[in-house]
Symmetry: C2
Subunit: 280 residues, 2 copies
Amino acid sequence: MPTHQQELSDKKSQASAWFASLRDTICNAFEGIERSVGSDAKFQRKEWQRSGGGGGVMSVMRGEVFEKVGVNISTVWGEFPDNFAKEIPGTQDNKEFYATGVSLVAHMKSPIVPSVHMNTRFIATQKSWFGGGADLTPAIFFQEDSDHFHGKLKGACDKFDAGYYPKFKEECDRYFYLPHRGEARGIGGIFYDYLNTGSWDADFAFTKEVGLAFLEAFVPLVQKRCHIPWGEKEKEMQLLKRGRYVEFNLLYDRGTKFGLMTGGNTDAILMSLPPEAKWS
Amino acid sequence: MPTHQQELSDKKSQASAWFASLRDTICNAFEGIERSVGSDAKFQRKEWQRSGGGGGVMSVMRGEVFEKVGVNISTVWGEFPDNFAKEIPGTQDNKEFYATGVSLVAHMKSPIVPSVHMNTRFIATQKSWFGGGADLTPAIFFQEDSDHFHGKLKGACDKFDAGYYPKFKEECDRYFYLPHRGEARGIGGIFYDYLNTGSWDADFAFTKEVGLAFLEAFVPLVQKRCHIPWGEKEKEMQLLKRGRYVEFNLLYDRGTKFGLMTGGNTDAILMSLPPEAKWS
């Protein structure tokens, strides 16, 4: 019979292999969108090592539809710094951690096409859990796009627990909020953290489902909106919205803080920042 | 004989009156630069009130030389939130505070002309002190501009204490640093905080001197550089440098944190952000 350590080690491998495979699926889908508009843009990969343990691979594409999209996978381990450990469950007696995940932010050339963010992760300290979610940030709001996006995420949640969607939607709205502006970052989606129902298999399956649902939620919006003409007025709205995005990510985002506090790769962590932003 | 309370109240009034007067001097000088290039740009003022006590006045100009410059004065008082009070001297037994100051950030149209920041302030809790400084952020470095800027600030310091300049220059370099990039925000200047030598009059006089030296340090650089032609390459360097400026201000700046944590006016606090920035 496998020991607890062997089991945990196997779970870590399964999770990190899934995140890499999801990265491939997403990159292929996004390169396909570029091809559909006659662009030969491709993701460029760049590996990085973390001195405290582990590392990751950044994949970045700059295309005709995707102004800048980053899909990062990382698998890092080591010890949390004291001041940061306090904020993380399961670190009272032992500050060791392991974290593996995939993280994506897409900033689109057209202001009619929404920005999107997706992240799923598995984290182990003396406890272990999954977290993640996906959320949409349009500069220009379309009710039907919002309905489609939320609907696909709801579908993924409902396969697992009827309570997930309302709970994770609310957590998303609460998380992606700029208190100093009294504004939401975007129109939400789902966000979950510290998910450990007691069934690792179910939680892992849910996390996989979220990753795949993200593609179904987002890709049709891009395909539908990327040919619509737009002008300077719409671009200005997008650049100002991106300014808010920058504010959120640098002032509040836990993933950004986690990365910077644990000596992650700065380029990978700040990949989420838009190529260009404005403030009025 | 005046009581300690009366004396402190008088000091607060003197300090806040000075900051308003310095604001006027600076705005006049900057409007003069605009006139010298045939622009009729003027500062627009906007008052704001703080619900916990006090308020401020933002002055913003968008001109031909100054793409966006904000000069804010604020005088606020109240009680620090518990978690923030811990970081501020003189709040162990009483979380009341009073803070008055002037804060300036200029983002220039030409990438040849450096961005600049200046702030001076007087803060009273159960202790009281002055703080402030000025620092330069060029996108393109000119040794002679750097020498001029640092020289003027050194002159102001040397009138008061031969130890000030080396100490405050080093504090500036330490403060305006982005650890996640391993980069300085700009080329420094001076930065001082918790200045209380025992002579309020001397510390106030020094703070006044810094404000006036800032003008002598910066205005000649603008006059010398604002007519030099520049192209897209230089503009791109400026926009990327501004991206770093945004990172510093949102991730690390104590003034930004102070403002957001004490319920200050968001527009005034984030006035420091550039009108446009890029990330590679």
